[in-house]
Subunit: 177 residues, 2 copies
């Protein structure tokens, strides 16, 4: 059954969101379909169960949705990658460039496993900018980061260049229209 | 073993966050402790597995962390309660009062099960304001909402008054200092 599952049918495509000219790949249609959601989590477990992963770092907020069941199933600690000002403990902060302007992410310093392997998880990997900033932040904090996972990949936005040297896995990729 | 688990020890208390005079109950220390995280999800499953729940609605962003593993385990559709502007599909919007100012939440209209029972999930229930707004929104959309769950409850902030008539369950409660 698993190989016959069509994940594409469970991903809604919304034109002109969040702005004109952008085709948005919406994963909320996976969440409302328990078969699709289980398929994604089981795939993640299959891919990573035999890799040595000491912690997962998940990007706010949609990354939480896939990282949490995965971590709970495998008993792996879950670290949050949050926007500035959301985490109450001692944090490491990284500011990075966006298409227009910049953004800042934070991670709890004490959550980072010293010398441990951290897997980055997000729902969708596009430019790779946030994951690159997260990788740098985790490495500054003492972890090793050479793996990233996304349900959806948009390779035409060149994440493989930005995340060069990393092992990036996605369950489904879309080309530019 | 389960009854001996001390959840309190896995919840970090941070003084003066996000502002002076507030004691913040931080659940990220549950996420980095796989035993604590599993304990919470298993408790949720035990509490709700025999109730007739057609969907879960989870509050952004920390509510996602507990709702997602719970929904995945029980095969229940997961609806997101998000801040304005995050959901790409047709939405219902509710604006509600905060201590200072107001906030708006949105839910995908087509995700709401007509006549179905929806369980509200968040990490922490304090004033109950967001969950009340979510309940009203889901009911406007055609669902029944009489159950809410939080890992942590702060009853001294009077959520039981705001959520009057609802069956509200929390795993641990804290009194005012």
């Amino acid at each position: 059954m698993e190989t016959a599952f069509n994940l594409d049918q469970s991903i809604r495509k919304v034109k002109d969101f969040p702005k004109e000219g952008v085709l948005f790949y919406d994963i909320t249609s996976i969440l409302t379909n328990p078969d699709a959601f289980s398929y994604c989590i089981e795939k993640m477990v299959d891919i990573y169960k035999n890799k040595k992963i000491d912690a997962v770092a998940a990007a706010e907020a949609r990354g939480f949705l896939f990282a949490a069941p995965f971590c709970e199933k495998l008993g792996i600690p879950l670290i949050l990658i949050r926007k500035k000002g959301k985490l109450p403990g001692k944090v490491l902060t990284k500011t990075y460039a966006l298409e227009y302007g910049e953004d800042s992410i934070q991670i709890h310093k004490d959550d980072i496993p010293q010398g441990g392997n951290v897997l980055l998880v997000d729902d969708l990997i596009a430019t790779g900018g946030t994951l690159k900033a997260a990788k740098e932040l985790l490495e500054e904090g003492g972890a090793k980061v050479d793996k990233a996972f996304g349900i959806v990949g948009l390779p035409f936005l060149n994440y493989s260049q930005v995340l060069e040297g990393m092992d990036v896995v996605t369950l489904i990729n879309y080309d530019s229209e």
